[in-house]
């Protein structure tokens, strides 16, 4: 549009942000009310704490102990799923066996099952008189429910679908000819797997692990029921935030919440980066 059009021909001037279609206005208004306002409130409250006190509250011994569980144990759970997720995806894509469809649908169950139900189920099945908890206790003296082990199992439950669903489509798109070519050129199955197949799956595996990790770190419902929620033993960071709120310690809750929020933002960036990397691979196969 010509910038020098005569003023009388223009409609009453609206600021540019109002000259939006209805769909844009609804989108921005909704995002502002539902996302930006709460995010802003927390950021302002965290900023009001001041950097020195922020650091102190974020790194109390109690908080550090929960980070070890939430960030450390979740990483272990996500990595375990990185291995088993690939095995499951391989079984679903490359093998035909009885119950394949059932296995396929079961993978989605952690997404579909409300977390409170998952927590109840895991806590009772791994408790010392549960179907799996009793034999583990009798044979190995392992207590799973109400210890950090149980927390780890709940994190594995919640993050398993991410790796499987991330690896599956890439594995499907993989050309078998490449593997056959590698065999013909004298590569052993192990070499083929390590040098031909795995490198191409790697972006998808890492993206799935990162998504699962991010979910496991933030998970509350299923973990809180299998955890004994004792500080320094198996207390996770989200539960600590709730405990701080219940003690009316709003500053600590805000600061620890902010730490989790910053982790979420970083993990979102990493996941996006991994997905872009994955698409790059698809575009230029080796």
């Amino acid at each position: 549009m010509a910038p020098a059009s005569p003023a009388r021909l223009r409609r009453p001037a609206l600021p540019s942000w109002l000259q939006l279609s209805w769909s844009w206005r609804i989108t921005w208004l909704y995002l502002a009310l539902v996302l930006f306002l709460p995010l802003g409130a927390m950021t302002l409250k965290a900023a009001a704490v001041g950097p020195v006190q922020f650091w102190q509250l974020a790194t109390t011994a109690e908080a550090l102990a929960t980070y070890r569980i939430s960030f450390g144990l979740a990483l272990v759970a996500a990595l375990v799923n990185g291995v088993f997720g690939v095995v499951i995806a391989w079984a679903l894509v490359r093998c035909s066996f009885f119950g394949r469809r059932l296995l396929d649908s079961l993978i989605d169950l952690p997404f579909a099952l409300p977390t409170a139900v998952a927590g109840l189920a895991l806590a009772s099945i791994y408790s010392s008189n549960g179907w799996l908890g009793a034999p583990l206790d009798a044979l190995f003296g392992l207590k799973v429910s109400f210890t950090w082990l149980g927390v780890g199992i709940a994190m594995m439950f919640i993050s398993l679908p991410f790796v499987v669903r991330s690896v599956e489509p890439v594995l499907e798109a993989l050309e078998r000819e490449q593997e056959e070519a590698a065999w013909c050129l004298g590569a052993s199955p192990r070499q083929t797997l390590l040098k031909v197949v795995l490198p191409q799956l790697m972006p998808a595996i890492l993206a799935g692990v990162a998504q699962g990790y991010s979910r496991a770190v933030g998970e509350y419902g299923s973990v809180v029921m299998i955890s004994s929620n004792v500080p320094f033993r198996d207390l996770i960071t989200p539960t600590l935030i709730i405990q701080k709120l219940e003690e009316y310690d709003f500053s600590s809750a805000t600061v620890i919440g902010m730490v989790m929020l910053m982790f979420s933002l970083v993990s979102l960036l990493v996941i996006n980066g991994l997905q872009v990397w994955g698409r790059h691979w698809e575009g230029n196969p080796v």
Partner: protein, 286 residues
């Protein structure tokens, strides 16, 4: 383990791997997902059918179900309007910051539900919230009450619809809308008669995911609700509360209802996926 090594050395990957891989996959999924799910069913009926049915006479359970249904009835339509607006505004357009805006819409998936609840407390709490003064002077009750809980549900579930509809709209292109416009349709008519029908299956898919998550949301609602039995208790909160009070029967009964909802949503999702798959195959013919 030894057989695994042997087949890796032998070079004959096919015969043993085709058994071993599904076996490992199946075992892992059984221990992490299938057995816990079955445990809910068996636990609910542990003492037979009659005690299970008796659970449903609990007045607190009734009120929890009402609360959950009411919140879902508000959150799902609101998020559908947002999702469709965002999809028509964002999809099929290229503008700077598009990828960033899409990540912003995805943000609630990576933020811990507990942090979502915390953000709302820091915004609306009458004593410590950023807007606490306004909320008090207007006489509203948002935290520890249904408006805050509904808002928490909305935040946690709003990305689903936009995320399902946007890729489909991108794929479909503008042609039909432009044809409708040249024939004199208003933008409202274009939306109702052209755009919406073309994405109806994605909308249905989004509705299923949004509803399932809204019914089962735990962490975000737990922080905001105060968990007052008979007043601000939702079905997932009820499950946890009953379990903590050692009212195991009641917890299992409620969990089975919730788990049933999850299962139904999973089945509907598979059904819609089949229909979409079928549509894609028949599309070039009409």
């Amino acid at each position: 383990m030894r057989s695994l090594l042997r087949f890796l050395r032998s070079g004959k990957i096919r015969p043993s791997a085709s058994v071993l891989i599904p076996l490992i996959a199946g075992l892992y999924v059984a221990v992490i997902i299938l057995l816990p799910a079955l445990e809910v069913v068996s636990g609910a009926f542990a003492k037979g059918l009659q005690p299970f049915l008796d659970n449903f006479e609990s007045e607190e359970l009734h009120s929890a179900v009402r609360m959950t249904l009411m919140m879902t009835a508000i959150a799902v339509p609101a998020n559908t309007i947002f999702g469709l607006s965002a999809a028509t505004a964002i999809a099929r357009r290229q503008f700077p910051g598009k990828a960033f805006l899409l990540s912003v819409i995805d943000l609630p998936f990576s933020i811990s539900p507990v942090v979502v609840g915390l953000m709302l407390v820091l915004l609306y709490s009458p004593t410590n919230g950023l807007l606490g003064g306004i909320v008090t002077s207007l006489g509203w009750k948002i935290i520890f009450s249904w408006p805050g809980m509904t808002l928490a549900t909305i935040i946690v579930t709003f990305p689903f619809m936009a995320r399902e509809v946007i890729p489909l709209l991108e794929e479909e292109g503008w042609d039909q809308e432009e044809a409708a416009r040249t024939l004199g349709a208003s933008s409202w008519q274009v939306f109702w008669k052209v755009t919406l029908p073309s994405v109806r299956w994605a909308v249905l898919y989004g509705l299923i995911l949004t509803t399932a998550r809204a019914l089962g949301e735990f962490g975000a609602v737990a922080v905001v609700s105060g968990n007052i039995a008979g007043q601000t208790q939702t079905l997932p909160l009820f499950v946890e509360d009953a379990y903590k009070q050692y009212d195991t029967e009641l917890a299992y009964g409620a969990a089975l209802v919730l788990g049933g909802v999850g299962l139904v949503s999973l089945l509907l999702k598979l059904l819609v996926e089949q229909v979409i798959g079928g549509n894609k195959e028949t599309e070039p013919m009409n």
